[in-house]
């Protein structure tokens, strides 16, 4: 009998092979993928998030946990598509022009995927026009951008302006993140969402807001 709690434990401890094995077992036993995702993988990452906040976990512990969660997600992704579960929303994500630092961006992308969002990963050093094209061509509802560097914060603003200039402001919300970012800065450049962590809750809020 597959053990969803063991999946969560193995995510917490960053044991990617054990997560893969347990998730495969759960799939083979026809456990609903939604349960594997929520009671196994996401339950585990939620604990990781709490421990990180409490200074019990640091970057290395979070990274090995994230890798373990990703291993599980990859196994259930085809099943999630088959189950035709309604997507929470469609987002694109990337680090802005001039910025190659993607550790935070990758974690947020993975958590959004785990929360049921369709995630288009645009990678690093993403030009404003690439974000705009993604919104236009891929039906994106939320643009997620990150900037680790003070110098590349300007690219956040340039991209928000490019989205405005393309007349897409009504169709899309913008979430930003990165070490030097503050709520004040997000307000200043006209981004809709900034959170130091808990990006998935914010993304859900923004989607709900757009639905009104």
């Amino acid at each position: 009998m597959a053990d969803l709690q063991a999946i969560a434990e193995n995510v917490i401890n960053g044991q990617a092979p054990a997560v893969s094995e347990a998730v495969q077992k759960a799939i083979d036993e026809n456990i609903p993928v939604q349960d594997i995702l929520h009671e196994g993988l996401i339950a585990g990452m939620n604990v990781v998030g709490v421990r990180f906040k409490n200074n019990e976990f640091y970057i290395p512990e979070v990274l090995i946990a994230a890798r373990a969660m990703k291993a599980g997600l990859e196994l259930i992704r085809p099943k999630l598509l088959e189950a035709k579960i309604k997507s929470s929303g469609k987002v694109c994500i990337g680090t802005v022009k001039g910025d190659l630092h993607d550790i935070g961006k990758n974690l947020v992308g993975m958590m959004l995927e785990g929360a049921g969002f369709e995630v288009v990963d645009l990678g690093v050093d993403v030009a404003p026009e690439t974000f705009v094209a993604s919104v236009r061509e891929q039906g994106i509802q939320i643009v997620c951008m990150s900037a680790l560097l003070t110098t590349t914060m300007a690219s956040l603003q340039t991209t928000v302006e490019a989205i405005k200039a393309a007349g897409l402001t009504d169709n899309v919300r913008v979430m930003i993140g990165g070490a030097p970012i503050t709520q004040e800065y997000a307000d200043k450049i006209g981004a809709h969402g900034y959170v130091a962590d808990a990006a998935t809750e914010k993304a859900r809020e923004l989607i709900a807001e757009m639905a009104i």
Partner: protein, 349 residues
């Protein structure tokens, strides 16, 4: 007092004639400032803004020919444009795919201290006899991240501790011998060495205290002893929220703490001052994430005044930007920082 005497007064817990200042800037920001002030040389700039710049000396590379865009460790770099300038970002990680210490030993050639020439250092120092001299030091985990890639380097602390230990030994040995040769070439001339490692993020430490103790502290301690034995002050640099590890660093023997990134968790100037003010010299403190790049001249002046009030209570502060001044920071803000520091720093000393 000369800039050197001013620094030494602070480092030796005596009274300087005024608050010393230091200067770090990217090439682009530096060129902008030189042009803005019509200064022909670095020395003109330091004189004009009363900057007591610590002058860095380093050996010249004379080892095997390096590959295109490659550094001495075999890491390739790419110029990445960020708008007003470029950063040279590391894009290849020569040790990324080695599964074991044995594999690295078999395939990788570590840089050798003999690949460097130290003979020009006395001449270089002679040109800056009135300024503090810094040289040597270490920041090996920064190099380790380039060698393995950031994510792998972080995960190695948990999964491949033997690889981390082996590589850090090699990297610290290189730094140690380099530092030793600088001291030997310049006896009594070096005032400070950076013993650095970025341990903090915006909100907390990046690594657990246990990992810091296991991988870094014993090796940093060796560097600190080397410096102190040569009569050199130890300047510890770590970005970010590092409050929790500062007592350990004090025990290890650091003299100067840089940069007091006060917008980070528990680094709000009052807290480190209250907790460690009697044991350390503070260096830095002018915020480089918001105030210098995006603040007004008045914001900068206010921050300099606050920094001096909070951090300079016992003449144990050297004012400087929290890291390299970036090209996005208006030259007017930079000028305001140094002019205010000079005005207020002179009146209170």
């Amino acid at each position: 007092m000369t800039p050197k005497e001013r620094w030494l007064a602070v480092l030796n817990k005596q009274s300087p004639d005024r608050l010393p200042t230091d200067y770090w800037a990217t090439t682009e920001a530096h060129q902008k400032l030189l042009a803005h002030l019509n200064c022909a040389t670095d020395r003109d700039l330091y004189t004009r803004l009363h900057i007591d710049r610590a002058i860095a000396v380093s050996p010249r590379y004379r080892g095997p020919t390096l590959g295109k865009n490659s550094d001495v460790f075999g890491c390739q770099h790419k110029a990445v444009q960020y708008g007003s300038g470029t950063y040279n970002e590391c894009i290849s990680h020569p040790l990324a795919h080695y599964p074991s210490v044995e594999a690295i030993k078999t395939h990788y050639i570590w840089p050798n201290p003999d690949w460097y020439d130290y003979s020009h250092l006395p001449e270089q120092v002679a040109q800056w006899a009135d300024y503090p001299i810094r040289g040597g030091g270490s920041e090996p985990f920064l190099i380790y991240k380039k060698l393995r890639g950031d994510v792998q380097a972080f995960m190695d602390l948990i999964e491949n501790p033997d690889i981390v230990h082996y590589c850090l030994d090699r990297l610290f040995d290189l730094a140690y011998t380099n530092t030793q040769r600088i001291y030997e070439t310049l006896p009594g001339k070096v005032d400070l060495s950076y013993v650095a490692e970025d341990l903090g993020g915006q909100e907390s430490l990046l690594f657990s205290p246990q990992h810091i103790h296991t991988f870094l502290l014993p090796r940093m301690k060796r560097m600190i002893h080397l410096a102190h034995d040569a009569g050199v002050f130890v300047f510890f640099h770590s970005d970010g929220a590092i409050h929790d590890i500062i007592p350990t660093m004090i025990d290890l023997g650091i003299d100067v703490l840089n940069p007091i990134q006060w917008r980070c968790q528990n680094m709000d100037r009052e807290t480190p001052m209250k907790d460690f003010g009697s044991q350390l010299i503070f260096h830095g403190g002018v915020d480089n994430q918001h105030t210098l790049p995006f603040g007004t001249v008045d914001d900068v002046k206010r921050e300099v005044r606050d920094n001096i009030e909070i951090l300079n209570q016992q003449n144990r502060y050297i004012l400087a930007p929290c890291h390299n001044i970036q090209a996005v920071s208006p030259p007017e803000n930079i000028v305001a920082m140094y002019e205010t520091a000079h005005e207020l720093g002179t009146s209170i000393s």
